[in-house]
């Protein structure tokens, strides 16, 4: 009797879930499985579609692909610099906004504005500012600092994208930090004050540890986001990943193989699969190191 009741409940639950499940299967799980299938085949989709099973050929080819290595190196460099910087910046911004200053709301809005702009538009605006006679160089010249060929010079092109991306995504994480900051009980700070803590102590020994789960979330989202860098480098380099492969990222390379040359769709899928594994690893490492009971 009891079991029947449970079955019935489960049945109802699944019926209610069915539209969502259907959509998930069709648009999320299905494509993932198909991509995995593709990665083990040599695929020609156009015309008479042909799928030729090649085993791990596509994966071994990655090891032999100079451009794939460059792309992975660029992406890793990008992640290693952008994620810590934007997390730190977001935390500092949030802490200053939470300090109860005058005009706090105004600054909150101003800081958040970059997040609202589409990244493609942002990139185009930055390309204007970055050009040789552009705003950035004018400011640098005014301050007596050296100017750069931001877009053309391979050694700075990626940095230019980094700066832009940190500026535009830090505010988003700042809002998440802000929400978490509101949650810290005042009594903790009071207790710290009684123990003789100054403002810096309070930030470092109360705020930062309390925000640890949120930091973990911010870093993981940052990792995923930065590993998938595509549009900025695509627009910067006109789709080629140049100059001298300086702005070539893994996703841009996947795009090139999938759409720009015919018959390499399977290889592109293998690259995408490899990237997914790299992201998974990075996320797993992050969680291993932060060692907190997860909230999600």
């Amino acid at each position: 009797m009891f079991r029947r009741q449970r079955w019935k409940e489960a049945g109802t639950a699944y019926t209610l879930l069915s539209p969502t499940l259907f959509v998930l299967l069709l648009f999320v799980i299905g494509p993932i499985l198909f991509a995995i299938y593709l990665s083990f085949h040599k695929v020609q989709l156009l015309g008479t579609a042909s799928f030729q099973f090649v085993g791990f050929d596509n994966f071994t080819r990655i090891l032999d692909d100079t451009r794939a290595k460059i792309a992975l190196w660029n992406t890793a460099k990008y992640v290693a610099i952008v994620v810590p910087t934007q997390t730190m910046l977001a935390l500092v911004l949030a802490a200053t906004l939470n300090a109860g200053l005058k005009g706090e709301k105004f600054f909150r809005i101003v800081y958040f504005l970059p997040t609202l702009t589409s990244s493609a538009v942002l990139t185009l605006i930055f390309m204007w500012m970055y050009n040789q006679n552009g705003l950035v160089n004018h400011v640098l010249k005014f301050l007596g600092l050296p100017t750069y060929n931001w877009l053309g010079d391979p050694s700075v092109a990626l940095n230019a994208i980094m700066i832009m991306n940190i500026w535009s995504t830090a505010p988003f994480f700042m809002v998440i930090y802000l929400a978490a900051l509101q949650d810290i009980p005042d009594s903790l700070y009071e207790a710290a004050e009684l123990d003789g803590a100054n403002a810096w102590h309070k930030f470092w020994y109360v705020t930062v540890p309390y925000l640890k789960p949120v930091t973990s979330f911010v870093i993981i989202m940052g990792l995923i986001g930065t590993f998938q860098l595509f549009d900025q480098s695509y627009i910067f380099s006109g789709g080629s990943g140049g100059p001298n492969n300086a702005t070539l990222t893994v996703v841009l390379l996947i795009y090139q193989y999938a759409f720009k040359s015919l018959g390499t769709m399977g290889y592109a899928a293998a690259l995408a699969f490899a990237l997914a594994i790299v992201i998974l690893l990075a996320t797993w490492l992050q969680r291993k190191f932060s060692k907190e009971e997860s909230l999600y």
Partner: protein, 422 residues
């Protein structure tokens, strides 16, 4: 409780059902077909292309209207794919949702023909279509390895030298006839980083004819061969202009999207651009006074590029007869005359070109003059890979990151490795 549960189940099935029904929508189309059958076989042909400027769109609309008047039982549905045209077309063809007729750039043609998604058009051609009227190199660009024709070129453009009249007058210079003269003129026209003498486009699509001017080959047997010393020698002057003379720059360095824009903003005194730049400059930068001339010669030899686009037919089209009628009208004498009448593109038919008299046009004569000796931008199925690697490394040589010969060697090796792995 029980009642509520059943209500919920009922609701969700209903929702689910309506989602499914939304996907189908077969009933509606069935009805439409019934209707059209009554009106003596009304057919609708879809045609897809990229968007041009508003004037160009108007012209195409006018041409299509004329076609609908001539064939009242065919309706044309025009679809504009504004961005990433080839990606969209390929995806749609794979999904079986391709348009009946669409634009195809000569550059992409060999690979597309190779996949067999295009309908060969030879069997449709009739006597009065007058196939010999087309400029031969432009028609050949759309021939498959089997010798069949897969598309008819709708128009083309060559490159010409655009020069700023005012800047030339101020510097007291004549329009350069050779590349050496151009280099000298560029030096005199440069004013620091404000105005560059020459706006260069460091990409293979624009440099191909220069690269081959000393006898080297960019592509040999469908593989990259541009590290050839003869190619390096031919391209070196362009790099030198940027690095030694400091008289050349690429558009992105001055914040422009392309050469025409750089020229219009008066940040370059000379650019080598095509027909598309003429209406653009006249509309967007009416204050920039410019003239055109044939591309300067190298070692006394003339050279330029030609870019062409054809109308092709989808092999899976259900309305091939109607689709051919559309293609033959658009590339026929009458349709082409309307389409090219305003000078946005040059006619690929000799008779139309003669009738419209662009060879006597002040701005377009230089472009028309280039047609007989132009190199058509196309070479085998691997050109996209070759181009991508060339552009990537050439830019870095252009900017002085590495010597040109090393850059091209590296690019060639990577390109050929990619081609072999295919």
């Amino acid at each position: 409780m029980k009642k509520k549960q059943w209500f919920a189940v009922g609701m969700s099935t209903l929702l689910f059902g309506s989602v499914l029904a939304g996907c189908g929508g077969e009933e509606k189309t069935a009805k439409n077909e019934e209707k059209s059958e009554k009106k003596e076989e009304q057919v609708e042909v879809t045609i897809a292309g990229w968007g041009g400027n508003p004037m160009e769109q108007k012209l195409l609309k006018q041409t299509l209207d004329e076609f609908e008047k001539t064939y009242p039982n065919i309706k044309v549905k025009h679809e504009v794919i504004s961005d990433q045209y080839m990606d969209v077309i390929k995806t749609r063809l794979i999904g079986g949702e391709g348009p009946d007729v669409f634009y195809l750039d000569a550059f992409e043609a060999p690979a597309m023909i190779g996949t067999g998604v295009l309908e060969p058009l030879d069997d449709y051609v009739t006597e009065d279509f007058d196939i010999n009227d087309f400029e031969k190199p432009l028609l050949d660009a759309f021939k498959g390895p089997d010798g069949k024709i897969y598309g008819f070129p709708k128009d083309y453009s060559t490159l010409a030298l655009f020069y700023n009249k005012k800047m030339f007058a101020e510097a007291g210079l004549d329009v350069p006839k050779t590349w050496d003269e151009l280099r000298e003129a560029a030096k005199k026209l440069t004013k620091g980083t404000e105005v560059y003498g020459f706006g260069a486009a460091p990409e293979l699509a624009r440099l191909y004819y220069i690269a081959e001017s000393k006898g080297g080959k960019v592509v040999t047997d469908n593989k990259a061969s541009f590290a050839d010393p003869k190619v390096v020698e031919a391209l070196q002057p362009i790099v030198d202009m940027r690095l030694k003379d400091k008289s050349a720059a690429q558009p992105s360095e001055v914040g422009a999207g392309w050469g025409g824009e750089m020229f219009g903003q008066q940040k370059a005194a000379m650019v080598i651009e095509g027909n598309w730049a003429i209406p653009f400059l006249q509309e967007t930068f009416p204050n920039t006074e410019f003239g055109t001339a044939e591309v300067p010669t190298i070692d006394g030899k003339k050279g330029t590029m030609a870019y062409t686009v054809a109308y092709v037919m989808n092999k899976d089209s259900q309305k091939k007869e109607a689709a051919w009628k559309l293609i033959s009208f658009l590339t026929g004498k009458e349709g082409m005359k309307i389409w090219t009448s305003k000078g946005f593109a040059l006619p690929t038919r000799k008779s139309v070109a003669a009738e419209l008299g662009y060879d006597k046009d002040e701005l377009r004569a230089a472009l028309v003059a280039g047609a007989p000796y132009a190199t058509v931008w196309q070479n085998g199925t691997n050109l996209p890979i070759i181009m991508n690697n060339f552009n990537n490394q050439f830019v870095s040589a252009f900017l002085g990151e590495q010597p040109l010969d090393e850059a091209l060697k590296k690019a060639q090796d990577i390109a050929n490795k990619e081609i072999e792995a295919k």
